[in-house]
């Protein structure tokens, strides 16, 4: 009885704490949505107000008129979709190989994987551009998609950590049952790392969805631009159309929020998998 009340107490404390912290973490988002519904005058009032008056829903309509929203959306979806697919296909496989298979050169490859992340992208940007120029990929979406199919160091490192946490017994058992290497990976090990693979998918989705520098450098025709390039179109030398810009930003974040909301449900389901372990 007392144990139960103390447990409930603890839940209330956690609940209250989370509620307060939520206010802080919600602020930027609410700020963005609220700005998206303001007139330009109201954006500039000082001190700022949280609640738009009036609510200018027209901003959303205007914003979609101002830039070719659906063209950009289509391009963004395609690039994001393929690059996420590439990452999710390749990175776990590579990470599994580095974490769970024993082969000569493995540690060196891992070492190099970490090392390549230590050079700031600012100095490799131009050489990489020239490389794509040589491949004749400039003006196409290929530079934004193809490298993802060959792996991204950040995700490989992350997934390696997760695979290392999985017991070898499962792998060995599968082998004894006569499963091939690929089947062991695909049917036994990959499902166990599901929550990590989904996180990686989410991260890549976000990164590709909001990437600015990549599309800026590699896409040359306005018809192939993405939403993040469109976002810049609300900024001009004479000032920023904050309302319209935030309207597009809000629309851009909605798919990621939904994606995250459903993904984190599977994190909870993941607990059932853990039950098998040990």
């Amino acid at each position: 009885m007392t144990a139960k009340t103390s447990k409930n107490m603890k839940k209330y404390v956690v609940q209250i704490f989370l509620l307060i912290a939520s206010v802080f973490f919600l602020a930027p988002f609410i700020w963005m949505v609220s700005t998206s519904l303001k007139t330009l005058d109201q954006v500039y009032t000082f001190p700022p107000e949280w609640i738009p008056s009036p609510f200018v829903w027209q901003n959303y309509v205007d914003a979609m008129d101002y830039i070719p929203f659906f063209t950009y959306l289509k391009n963004t979806v395609l690039i994001t979709g393929f690059s996420t697919l590439g990452v999710v296909l390749t990175c776990p496989l590579v990470a599994y190989s580095i974490a769970k298979l024993n082969w000569k050169g493995r540690d060196s490859i891992f070492f190099i994987t970490i090392a390549v992340m230590m050079i700031p992208g600012q100095v490799t940007m131009i050489p990489l551009f020239l490389l794509f120029e040589k491949l004749n990929w400039i003006g196409t979406a290929l530079p934004l998609v193809i490298p993802a199919f060959f792996g991204v160091p950040f995700y490989i490192f992350l997934l390696r950590q997760f695979f290392l946490g999985l017991p070898n017994e499962l792998k060995d058992a599968a082998r004894i049952d006569g499963a091939g290497e690929f089947r062991t990976y695909w049917q036994i090990m990959l499902p166990l790392a599901k929550s990590a693979v989904l996180s990686v998918g989410l991260f890549q989705f976000m990164a590709a969805w909001t990437d600015f520098m990549g599309p800026l450098l590699y896409l040359t025709e306005p018809g192939s631009y993405t939403l993040s390039l469109g976002l810049q179109q609300f900024q001009s030398q004479k000032g920023t159309q904050w309302g319209l810009m935030m309207a597009v930003s809000t629309m851009m974040t909605l798919p990621i929020i939904l994606l995250f909301f459903f993904l984190q449900k599977t994190f909870i389901q993941g607990i059932t998998f853990s039950g098998i372990k040990g």
Binding site: P28, N102, V116, V123, T124, L166, P167, S249, F261, S274
Partner: protein, 313 residues
């Protein structure tokens, strides 16, 4: 060192014996599974990286190949006061931000892993700031931290504290930036959550049977088994913090004001490469950064044997 790390629990000699026995099986599939990445490294990483290493010994300007000058860029950097200023600012940021982000990240993830009503919504909320565009974040923060009219000083006023000038103050600009950056820890929280998820319930059940307290379970089960992920976030946190760029660049219009207190390493590197057309110099900066971060990372890897535990080993 790394190969030992992969399986830290049993004595090293034993592993080595095991390894050589297995090597025959795995060499083919190991290379096969890793081959996309090996090709990726050779195609998309090797050329740009080695080019930049070469450029660091030249006066390359992006528009002109420049000439080979040996170690001159490196030597000049040693006597460049802005370089040292940006270096010390960056160290300051790394030293405070990385531990804080790990502490808050783990704490938040543990809270968000509890079985409390509305948890899905809470998780989403804590992830939200990472989705808001940097420009919007910058504008919001400038208002919140406005010394005269901002919300933060307004609240401090209520409890009788006269708040500092925050972003306008040489002393407080970096702490302000650290505070702002902590708002974006949503991504590492997701990683911790995924890690927490992988901890087998059996451990907790065993703990329950022994009558362990929540605190005790956290100390002896949750934290140790979360170490692979903490290790990841530590290494990536250091790599990322040394490359801090977008937020301070956006907030100060690239200038790093006040009094250079917000001028970070990669900001100075960027200015050199793209504004002053000294890409060779910038590349030298990049490789000095590489050596520092590499040394730190090696240290962490070496040290990790003592504190990183892999479940199921």
């Amino acid at each position: 060192m790394l190969e030992k790390k992969a399986a830290p629990m049993p004595p090293a000699t034993q592993i080595r014996a095991k390894n050589s026995k297995k090597l025959r099986d795995d060499a083919l599939y190991g290379w096969l599974f890793a081959s996309p990445w090996v090709i990726g490294l050779l195609v998309f990483f090797a050329v740009p990286l080695i080019s930049s290493l070469y450029f660091s010994f030249t006066t390359y300007s992006i528009l002109q190949p420049g000439e080979f000058v040996g170690f001159r860029n490196y030597a000049e950097l040693m006597s460049d006061s802005v370089f040292w200023k940006s270096f010390s600012n960056t160290i300051y940021f790394v030293v405070f931000f990385v531990p804080l982000s790990i502490f808050f990240g783990v704490a938040l993830a543990m809270l968000l892993n509890m079985n409390v009503r509305g948890m899905s919504i809470y998780r989403t909320i804590f992830f939200l700031p990472t989705l808001v565009p940097a420009v919007a974040m910058a504008v919001l923060w400038m208002w919140l931290l406005n010394p005269g009219f901002g919300l933060v000083n307004g609240m401090l006023d209520v409890i009788g504290i006269q708040g500092p000038a925050w972003l306008g103050s040489e002393t407080w600009s970096k702490p302000s930036l650290i505070l702002m950056s902590l708002w974006g820890i949503g991504q590492s929280v997701v990683i911790y959550l995924a890690g927490l998820n992988d901890i087998s319930q059996d451990y907790y059940e065993a703990g329950d049977i022994d009558g362990a307290s929540w605190f005790h379970k956290m100390k002896s089960i949750t934290l140790p088994l979360l170490t692979p992920v903490i290790f990841f976030n530590l290494v990536m946190g250091i790599i990322g913090a040394f490359q801090q760029f977008t937020l301070p660049y956006t907030m100060t219009g690239g200038r790093g004001t006040p009094a250079d207190s917000m001028k970070f390493y990669v900001m100075y590197l960027y200015d050199n490469g793209f504004k002053f057309f000294k890409m060779g110099y910038a590349s030298a900066m990049a490789w000095i950064l590489f050596i520092i971060v590499m040394a730190l990372t090696a240290l962490i890897f070496y040290n990790s044997k003592k504190w990183v535990h892999y479940q199921g080993e």
